[in-house]
Amino acid sequence: MEYHHHHPLWTRALHACNALVLVGMASSGLQIYNANPVFGGRSGDPIPSLLTLGGWLAAGRWWHFGFMGIFALVLGSWLLVLWKWRRERLGRGGDLGAIRASANPRKRNYALHKLLYTLMLVVLSLALLTGLAMYKPATLWWLSGWFGSWQQLRVLHFATIPAMALLVLCHVLLSLKLGGLRLFRAISW
C-alpha cells in the first residue's frame, strides 16, 4: 500500500471547511445578485440557477447571512495567525523576484504558492468589508463611505467572485502541476 503524506487533521479539516463556506457564500451571493444584476439592473442578465443557492432572493439571504458568521470567524482567525507568522508564511515583494530569478524550482514554486494565497486573503477581506458595508450602510456609515457610491460598492463586492475564481483556478492548477493527485490526497482524505 502506498504511503500518503498527510497534512495534520486540523489543516485538512480547515481547508475543506474553507472551500465549502466559500462555495456557499459565492453561490448564495449569486442568488442575491440575480435580484438586481450589476449591469442592467432588474432587467439585466441573471446567473443560471445551476450556480445559485437558495432558489429565490429571501432564501439566498438565509444561506448568505447563515454562513457569513463562520466565514468572518475563519477569515479573521486565519489573518491573525498568518500575521503573526507573516515573515515565513505570507507572500512578499521578495517573492516576485524569487519567481523570476531563483534557480531553485522549489523556492520558485513556494513563492508562487504564497503569493496566490496571500492574494486570496486580500480578495476575501475585501469581500468581507464590502459585504459589511452593504449589510449595515447606516450603522457602519464610516465603512460604506470608504467605497464611494452604492454602485461602486456593489460592483466591488461582486467582483470578488471572478477574482476568487481566477485565484482558485491558479491554485488548483499549480498544486496539480507540482504534486498531482498525491498532493491532493495530502490535503484531503
Binding site: K136, A138, W141, L181
Partner: protein
C-alpha cells in the same frame, strides 16, 4: 491510471458542487432558523440611538428611487384622510393631515436601500413618528408598532427604531409633495430599515406589547427578515 482518477475527482467535485445548488435549497429555512435569531440580536445591539450622518441636498438621486408596489396604487382622498393611532397608548388619535402638519416638521437626506440590492439618496420631509407616538402617550408595556396600509400591506417594527429621531412619517419627497406612487399622503422613511419595512399609504398605527409570529409583515410572512436593520 492517474489521469483517469484525476478526471473522476474533478467531475465528481464539479457535479457535487452544482447538484448542491438544487439539492441544498430545501434546507434553507433550517439554516435561517439556526442563524437568524442571533443575527437579528446582533443587528439590534449594533444599532445605536445616535443619528445616522446624512447626505447633502446635491447628492439626491431622484431617478434611482425605483417604485415597487405590492398591490398597485390605492386611491386616497387627502381631505377625508385620517390616521388612526391606537393600541397601548393613553390617548388614541385620529389625525387629519392638517393635524399632522401642526406637529414639528423634519427634513432629512438619507439613503433608501432596497432588499433587491439597489439604493437611492432621497430627501424626505414630514413629522417624526416618535412625536406622533408621544402625542398619543405610549405605554411602558409597549414593545412593537404595527402599520396598516391602504393597499393591504402590513408591517411591524421594534419600538426602539420607531422612536428613533430619523424615523419619519413622510409627506414630502425631494422638495415636493409626496407623489401617490411613492405612498402619498403618508409613508414611513428611515435610514435604519430596509425598503420593504417603509410602508406606503399608511392608514393606521397600532402600538403592541407582543408580536403575532404568524403576522409579522407582508414580506416577513414570506421569509424575509423582520428586524431588517441597516
Amino acid at each position: 491510471m492517474k489521469r483517469r482518477n484525476l478526471l473522476q475527482s474533478a467531475l465528481g467535485t464539479g457535479g457535487l458542487l452544482s447538484l448542491g445548488g438544487c439539492a441544498l435549497n430545501p434546507l434553507g429555512p433550517e439554516v435561517a432558523q439556526l442563524t437568524r435569531p442571533l443575527n437579528e440580536r446582533i443587528e439590534a445591539w449594533m444599532q445605536t440611538n445616535v443619528a445616522v450622518p446624512e447626505f447633502a441636498q446635491n447628492q439626491v438621486e431622484p431617478a434611482a428611487l425605483l417604485v415597487n408596489s405590492f398591490n398597485g396604487v390605492p386611491e386616497i382622498n387627502p381631505a377625508s384622510f385620517s390616521l388612526t393611532v391606537d393600541g397601548l397608548v393613553q390617548q388614541p388619535q385620529q389625525l387629519s393631515l392638517g393635524a399632522l402638519g401642526q406637529l414639528p416638521q423634519q427634513e432629512m437626506v438619507i439613503r433608501h436601500v432596497c432588499v433587491e440590492g439597489w439604493a437611492a439618496i432621497v430627501a424626505w420631509g414630514g413629522v417624526r413618528l416618535g412625536d406622533v407616538l408621544r402625542l398619543a402617550g405610549v405605554s411602558p408595556l409597549a414593545g412593537y408598532v404595527a402599520f396598516e396600509s391602504a393597499d393591504g400591506y402590513f408591517e411591524t417594527w421594534d419600538l426602539r427604531t420607531a422612536l428613533h429621531p430619523q424615523t419619519l412619517l413622510a409627506t414630502q419627497m425631494n422638495g415636493a409633495p409626496l407623489p401617490a406612487a411613492n405612498g402619498a399622503p403618508l409613508r414611513l422613511a428611515s435610514p435604519l430599515k430596509l425598503g420593504y419595512k417603509l410602508s406606503k399609504w399608511i392608514t393606521a398605527i397600532h402600538v403592541l406589547s407582543a408580536l403575532n409570529p404568524q403576522r409579522l409583515g407582508t414580506w416577513e410572512d414570506q421569509g424575509y427578515e423582520w428586524f431588517a436593520g441597516l
